[in-house]
């Protein structure tokens, strides 16, 4: 019995020593070394397998709409990623049909660099189509007769801020105007811009009234700029959003090697101003106040987007996304103005209207509805709940609403067993 007892005493002593050795410094080192060894040699378990379910809308949608009345073509921006973003070109005249209408041609594919194409403009005189993306900081130019997977003929990648929404060509003054939601700004470039072009001027700053701007229209005769604003506002500084390397006034999180300055932790300035139409001088620059603002409950404005001026009556026409309507304002409307006409109702087939244009040659109003995959053509003076003259649709009438655009996130609600996707 004596030997085993000594054996156990030695064993216990050794274990105690080992415990002390581990406790006083070596143990964590061993653990860390083991962990390092484990993680440095780690070969990931590969989980590659097909999705159990996939939710997607394969049908293109319509966003911006611009017309080449001379050649009888309408260009529409499709920013739906699940359908492959594109510019779809249709004839302006076609027999009424409720079937899906195939485009005459489409500009689409990786070479096009369309991104989340939101805004379109065109120059018949110069045979050019201009596009801006809701994601990138680029303005692309394509020949008007482009088709397929073609690269832009020209690209602006100067100091233009990211996430632009609207673009308009002021034909009279040969200038391109661009709105940028993120930084409450209107940038102006010459139509003949070069790749690294500086803006000719811009409107930006706390007194401009710009708050989450979207659509834009320039009247080169009255020298006015009309901008639709969703009303999400924060104070911006002139020059904010320009990509200028480490001195940029906006810090970007997108991994570019131009992070910009760190913003100090200062009081927040954000407000909900409510939707508006701001009217600016065409030549305004910097932190310039608007000439007038259409804003208030009587306006019925609700997430206003595309904006156009009737070339005959001078009325201001607004695609009012939030309540599925088109609003018409008197040419000199200001303040809490009531629309002179409202196009709205189930007969119109409008759901989430965003793009708007006038074919003055044929006296027709074009309205592109994002949610319902429909572009509808109405008489120019349409009013109330009337059926369109004809429609272009990219999905059947009973197809689900487009609803999912760029998916900013997904979340899971365990209580309702629902997937949520803000977009």
């Amino acid at each position: 019995m004596g030997v085993p007892e000594r054996f156990w005493r030695v064993m216990v002593g050794t274990l105690l020593l080992a415990a002390v050795w581990i406790q006083f410094g070596y143990g964590p080192g061993v653990t860390a070394a083991q962990q390092r060894s484990n993680t440095s040699d780690r070969r990931p378990m590969v989980l590659d397998r097909a999705p159990a379910r996939m939710i997607a809308d394969p049908n293109p949608v319509f966003r911006a709409v611009v017309l080449d009345a001379e050649h009888g073509e309408v260009f529409m921006a499709n920013d739906k990623e699940s359908a492959g973003t594109s510019v779809l070109v249709y004839p302006t005249q076609f027999p009424p049909t409720n079937r899906i209408l195939e485009p005459r041609r489409r500009i689409a594919g990786p070479k096009t660099d369309l991104g989340m194409v939101c805004g379109l403009a065109l120059s018949i005189e110069h045979g050019e189509l201009y596009s801006v993306s809701g994601e990138t900081g680029t303005l692309n130019v394509y020949p008007l007769d482009s088709t397929g997977n073609v690269g832009p003929a020209r690209r602006l990648r100067g100091v233009m801020p990211r996430a632009s929404a609207g673009v308009f060509l002021d034909v009279k003054n040969d200038e391109l105007f661009i709105t940028t939601e993120h930084v409450n700004r209107i940038s102006v470039y010459p139509r003949t811009f070069q790749e690294d072009q500086e803006p000719l001027r811009f409107i930006q700053g706390p007194v401009t009234g710009l708050g989450d701007p979207h659509g834009i229209y320039i009247d080169g005769t009255t020298n006015e700029i009309f901008v639709s604003n969703h009303g999400n506002w924060r104070e911006t500084q002139p020059g904010e959003g320009e990509v200028r390397g480490p001195d940029s006034l906006t810090r970007t999180s997108l991994g570019y090697n131009v992070p910009g300055r760190v913003v100090p932790l200062v009081p927040s300035t954000g407000q909900f101003l409510g939707p508006s139409i701001t009217v600016h001088s065409r030549t305004a620059t910097g932190n310039a106040a608007p000439l007038r603002i259409i804003h208030g409950p009587h306006t019925q404005l609700s997430l206003p987007d595309g904006i156009y001026r009737d070339p005959v009556s001078g009325e201001l026409i607004v695609a009012n996304t939030g309540d599925d309507s088109v609003l018409f304002f008197a040419k000199d409307a200001a303040g809490d103005a009531t629309p002179v006409r409202v196009l709205k109702g189930p007969a119109t087939k409008m759901k989430g209207p965003v793009g708007i244009s006038i074919d003055a040659k044929r006296n027709e109003l074009w309205v592109a509805s994002w949610d319902s995959h429909v572009a509808a053509v109405f008489p120019r003076m349409a009013n109330g709940n009337i059926a369109p003259l004809r429609v272009i649709r990219t999905a059947s009438e009973n197809a689900p609403l487009a609803s999912m655009g760029r998916i900013g996130a997904v979340a899971y609600d365990p209580k309702r067993k629902e997937i949520l996707a803000p977009n």
Binding site: P51, D113, P259, M404, V410, A411
Partner: protein, 267 residues
Amino acid sequence: MIQGPKTLQARTSHYIAVDAVHDELAVPNPFAQAILIFRGGANGNEAPVRVIQGPKTLLTAVDNVAVDPLHRELMTASFPTDSILVFRSDAGGDVEPIRILHGPKTQLDRPIRVEVDPINNLMAVMNDHALLVFNRTDSGDVAPKWIIAGPKTGIGTRFGTRDLKLFPEGRKIIAGASIRGPRGTRSREASNEDEEGFFRGGGQRFIGVWKYGDNGDVAPWAVLNATPITKIPGSRMALNPEGGDLVIGGDGRVAVYHLPEIFQKTD
């Protein structure tokens, strides 16, 4: 669908967080510098029940939010200010953050996502070039507890990582969908954007899963690669641990992957 002017949502909406305990949803509005809190069952043109907004909040371009139902807290990673702001999640109006993580020791560099683990008291942050893990209640200028970064990880917003999730019961970190490979960065300088456009990196998307305690340049414990079979649509994720599902959204699509391996619990 929660949609309409009363909701106060911006057209650009980059995040949504679910508080299953209090049955609420939190949605940021970056342009109005606000966090909107809705009923869990909100529908249509319904106003939020509370809005965190105002000078005291210090909110800037708030585009993400995480909720901690256990401690009734809500937090956001602020990329313009290199900080994490923490609020009471039952607060509304012009309220001050209850904690701010900010300073050189934190190594916060354009943080775009924060997630919280209220059980193990951790907070993870996706940075420009690293995933940082802090103690949940860290405040001020505090160094991270663990840093996952380096070529083996493929992690960081500059490599395309846009989202991260924590699975407390299994002590896992899930980050996706990184873009790796020869054109791993999305910087103008590093990518040949003239060939394929600015937002079409030639690298490969993947979702990586790491274990708690992973620190340094550590390969993921598990990966879901973008292949013609997996068809990973994007970079945004949600977890359904009960069903063993990883939900991934992006490119206008939502895909559900059954990956029970990720959701195995640890003691």
